[in-house]
């Protein structure tokens, strides 16, 4: 039965493509070829392709061209869900790494299709990284970072794992292999494969391997030798895992070809053996020209250069960090300083026992002025890393160095290790792209800062202005406070209900049955509420609106202090997705005092209004508070709007998605706005009943309080 709707001809397709891709077409590159291949598709496939071409073109026309160039081939190799997967993957690559990798992803449709057929069984990094991260943290006690790469390897700080693992035909087996790779990489860092030479600060293997004439071959042999040693150590800690991994070990023990190898490496199974012993074995094997087994399935590669670079950076940093921590401790816990005492007199004598081989069988004993002191966890963590690197605590580290030598705040920022330039201490959030119907991962960067304080007199003026109304506001809120309610005629309770008892006594004397509902119970109705106020301080709030917002906050705070509700106030603005700003006015656990008032006074119009990321961040905050009811209230003057295209439908849809996420998490979002056009878009974002419009900005201050009261009664 032929298609009722006919397929488009090449000319028709080309016409559509010219419209969509005009920007990247020229006399030398036309849409003719792609149109020709696409004319062979069925009409539904063509519609699909053209629709997606339009969507992609909105992001980047070049990407759209690459897409149409290959889409016909894609349909030959895959079904439509496979093709869609290919599109999403390529666009993700584009988002993360830019145009060239993105285009390459589109051109590479054959590989993608091949991966897809195996995909059913593959264990992907993305699917399993959550579980693996926790696994590593649990097993090792250290939060090692996991990242995807082409091969499995580590630079001792990060474990790199392959994107896709597909050696078996079941997901479970592939996952077990991926887990084994992860565990083996961790074990290398843990059991000293990359031990550092104290004199040179360079990992021992870097220097030793280079000494061999054929360094490449030496490295391969080292891999095989070290595997024996590391596996022996692992076996003592994780016997179940090693049993499984042994199934994937390259054959050796029973194979006569490797008899010599086995002989040389036998001593490495000893629990005290270290990387030096492995290197000695390597030299021996080369000398005796023994054969080596191939790499086991779970063994990754060793990149000497990157290991060396990572180690060098880390060693210096950790030494400084450790020493300055000691100094700070000594200062804080030392003798109370006399007027002119020398800080050096607060002597800290420290003892350390080096590791004996078990997972965490070393200890740090700290004595300050002869008194044993429990080492704080940050010090233990820093020490643990050092001991892992060196196998012991170097003596010169045990001297406290002045804290001025090291700014520990920078350390956290430096070691974030992001390839992209990441703004200092920013948090990443996804953003919803409604056109593509999926999230742009880690698209926005949010920074939280404190609102710069203004003049507290501004607040006092507001209180004066509304003085006659504040008492009234407080009264209306007092009604909402939790109170005790007495329940009568209960089966059990704290007190006897005399009325009920008397009645029942009379009844029983008359021969009737006596009820057992003779008690009173006092039930306390508790208000268990936590609220976050999200205040729009974008540039559009300049003038009257800014004043009104400030006044609203002042009155609101006065009212909230009457209740027991926990509340927090944050201003939000920002410019482009990389600079989303959140201004702390009041944290949850902060009292409403002078500081908060100063910050309210300091509210100033800023830049743009990117709402989605703010909602996501504040939702996270609310989830950390324990309360039966959680509310997120937005004070805004208009639509979401940011400089880099975050406006119109895109902005509204992302905001709506963020609000839905909040609702799913049990948070109640609400919006108070002065935008008279609010009815056009607020119902879509917040829902029909979850917003309130105040049509006169001067009425905002009072309205906010009464709206809050209604909302939470």
């Amino acid at each position: 039965m032929p298609n009722a709707i006919e397929a488009l001809t090449a000319a028709q397709v080309e016409e559509r493509l010219d419209e969509l891709l005009g920007a990247v077409l020229s006399s030398r590159r036309t849409a003719t070829e792609p149109a020709k291949t696409m004319s062979a598709l069925t009409r539904p496939e063509q519609d699909f392709a053209l629709h997606w071409a339009g969507v992609i073109a909105k992001s980047n026309s070049e990407m759209a061209y690459q897409f149409v160039d290959r889409v016909a081939q894609a349909f030959e190799l895959m079904d439509s869900s496979g093709v869609e997967g290919w599109i999403i993957a390529a666009m993700d690559t584009y988002d993360r790494n830019g145009l060239y990798p993105g285009s390459a992803a589109f051109r590479d449709v054959e590989n993608f299709a091949a991966g897809l057929s195996q995909g059913h069984f593959a264990a992907t990094f993305e699917n399993h990284v959550g579980v693996l991260e926790k696994y590593v943290k649990g097993v090792s006690g250290r939060a090692l970072a996991l990242k995807a790469d082409e091969q499995a390897w580590t630079d001792t700080e990060t474990l790199y794992l392959p994107e896709t693992t597909c050696s078996f035909d079941s997901v479970q087996m592939n996952f077990q292999l991926l887990k084994s790779m992860t565990a083996y990489l961790w074990a290398q860092t843990r059991f000293g494969t990359f031990r550092i030479d104290r004199k040179t600060g360079v990992p021992i293997i870097c220097a030793e391997i280079a000494k061999h004439a054929d360094a490449q071959r030496a490295l391969e042999i080292f891999g095989a030798v070290e595997e024996v040693r590391v596996m022996a150590r692992m076996k003592r800690e994780l016997p179940g895992l090693v049993r499984q991994m042994n199934e994937w070990t390259a054959p050796s023990r029973s194979n006569p070809e490797f008899e010599l190898f086995d002989e040389v490496v036998a001593p490495l199974a000893h629990p005290q053996s270290d990387v030096q012993d492995s290197l000695a074995a390597v030299a021996e094997i080369i000398r005796r020209k023994a054969n080596c087994p191939e790499a086991s399935l779970f063994r990754g590669t060793v990149d000497l250069e990157r290991v060396r670079v990572a180690a060098r950076g880390r060693v210096e940093k950790e030494k400084q960090l450790f020493q300055s921590m000691l100094a700070t401790m000594a200062e804080n816990l030392g003798k109370p300083a006399a007027e002119d005492s020398d800080p050096a007199e607060t002597a800290a004598s420290i003892d350390v026992h080096a590791e004996t081989g078990d997972l965490d069988d070393w200890s740090l004993e700290l004595t300050i002025d002869g008194e044993p002191v429990e080492p704080p966890s940050e010090l233990m963590e820093a020490a643990s890393s050092i001991v892992q690197d060196f196998g012991a605590m170097p003596d010169e580290y045990l001297v406290p160095a002045g804290p001025g030598d090291y700014r520990s705040g920078d350390e956290a920022a430096e070691s974030s290790g992001d390839a992209e330039e990441s703004p200092r201490d920013g948090l990443h959030y996804d953003e919803w792209d409604y056109r593509r119907n999926h999230y742009r991962k880690n698209w926005c960067v949010l920074r939280e800062t404190e609102m710069h304080p203004g003049d507290v007199r501004v607040v006092e003026e507001v209180l004066e202005k509304y003085a006659h109304l504040i008492a009234g506001i407080r009264k209306t809120f007092e009604v909402l406070r939790g109170d005790d309610r007495l329940q009568r005629r209960q089966k059990q309770g704290d007190d006897i209900d005399i009325e009920a008892l008397v009645e029942n006594y009379v009844d029983s004397r008359q021969g009737m049955e006596m009820s057992d509902r003779l008690f009173t119970k006092s039930r306390r109705v508790d208000r268990d509420l936590a609220v976050v106020f999200m205040v729009d301080v974008s540039g559009s709030t300049k003038g009257w609106i800014n004043v009104a917002e400030r006044e609203s906050l002042v009155l609101l705070c006065e009212a909230l202090e009457t209740l027991d509700d926990r509340y927090a106030i944050y201003g939000f603005s920002g410019m482009t997705r990389k600079r989303c700003e959140l201004y702390r006015v009041k944290r949850f656990d902060e009292p409403y005092g002078r500081r908060v008032k100063e910050r309210i006074a300091g509210l100033r119009p800023q830049d743009y209004t990117r709402m989605g990321v703010t909602i996501r961040h504040l939702s996270k905050l609310l989830l950390e508070v324990e309360a039966k009811t959680k509310v997120l209230i937005t004070l805004s003057d208009g639509k979401p709007d940011d400089y880099d295209g975050y406006r119109g439908e895109y902005g509204i849809e992302d905001t709506r998605q963020a609000l839905l996420e909040a609702k799913h998490a049990g948070i109640h979002p609400f919006c108070i706005t002065i935008d008279t056009q609010a009815h056009d878009y607020l119902p879509r974002m917040y829902g029909h009943v979850n917003y309130a419009m105040v049509n006169d900005v001067r009425k905002l201050p009072l309205s906010v309080s009464s709206i809050y009261r209604r909302l939470t009664a």
């Binding site: 926790k134 943290k137 097993v139 565990a183 800690e237 179940g240 704290d494 006897i496 656990d589």
Partner: protein, 268 residues
């Protein structure tokens, strides 16, 4: 007056308790000096067992109250009941312990509301009296009365913390998961499992405790390890025993469950 029999609450057989540090001596000293005691530590690390041990050692009855947020002052002090058409006063566990002497142990005190907790204040300072308004009595605690409360400071809750006005009346003993060797001993004693398995269980617990704050509220307590050990002795495969006794007890999150399961399969 209708009261509870003291004999029901006295502990006859010596309970097994392996001290972690000086807690036995400290508790005895506090008792003899008539100072109330506060036990703090995570769940399942021996606080209740310690109380049983001390009650046995001092030969005192032990009354335990598990606190919750519906607990009222009447639940602690007592109330009037109707018996055969007559009102009759019944002591609550606190009043009873004060009257006849003994240890009153209020477990997880922060779960109770603050207006309930203040009932213990006059008992917890040198007055050592309990006013019973409804009967018009002022009960004075003799030398054989001790008040002990417990809570878990690890729960970072805005609502549930112990106020200074309450805390500063007590001698505080801190409990934590036992050191590895001791924990192994305890597991072996309580379940009769072999040393190797006990060792592996202790390692498993350490791994879960590493995840505290990374998605797990609490790591595995010693109690859970004993459960798992008992099941292993009864013939259940170690990985299954860990899954049922520990993994599924600690968390419902699928990713976390998977991770902990992988740890178990790596160990056994």
């Amino acid at each position: 007056m209708h009261t509870v029999e003291v004999e029901d609450y006295t502990i006859a057989d010596k309970p097994y308790y392996a001290p972690q540090s000086q807690e036995v001596e400290l508790f005895e000293s506090a008792y003899r000096n008539r100072i109330p005691v506060l036990l703090k530590g995570p769940t399942g690390c021996g606080k209740t067992r310690f109380m049983e041990f001390m009650a046995w050692r001092l030969q005192l009855p032990l009354v335990t109250v598990s606190c919750h947020d519906d607990l009222t002052a009447s639940d602690l002090v007592g109330r009037y009941l109707i018996v055969g058409g007559e009102t009759s006063w019944v002591d609550g566990p606190l009043a009873h312990a004060v009257r006849v002497g003994g240890i009153c142990y209020l477990d997880e005190i922060v779960e109770a509301r603050k207006d309930t907790t203040v009932v213990i204040h006059p008992l917890a300072d040198d007055r050592r009296v309990l006013p019973v308004e409804k009967t018009g009595e002022l009960l004075r605690a003799g030398p054989e009365f001790n008040l002990t409360i417990s809570y878990n400071p690890g729960y970072q809750s805005v609502l549930k913390d112990l106020k200074q006005s309450t805390r500063q009346r007590f001698v505080a003993l801190s409990f934590d998961y036992p050191q590895k060797a001791l924990e192994r001993e305890i597991i072996v004693h309580e379940s009769s499992v072999d040393d190797v398995t006990a060792e592996a269980l202790v390692r498993f617990a350490a791994m879960t405790r590493n995840l505290r704050g990374s998605g797990l509220e609490e790591g595995a307590s010693t109690r859970l390890l004993v459960h798992a050990a008992k099941m292993i002795v009864a013939g259940i495969a170690p990985v299954d025993a860990c899954n049922a006794s520990i993994t599924q007890t600690l968390t419902d999150d699928p990713e976390m469950t998977a991770s902990i399961h992988e740890m178990a399969t790596s160990l056994f």
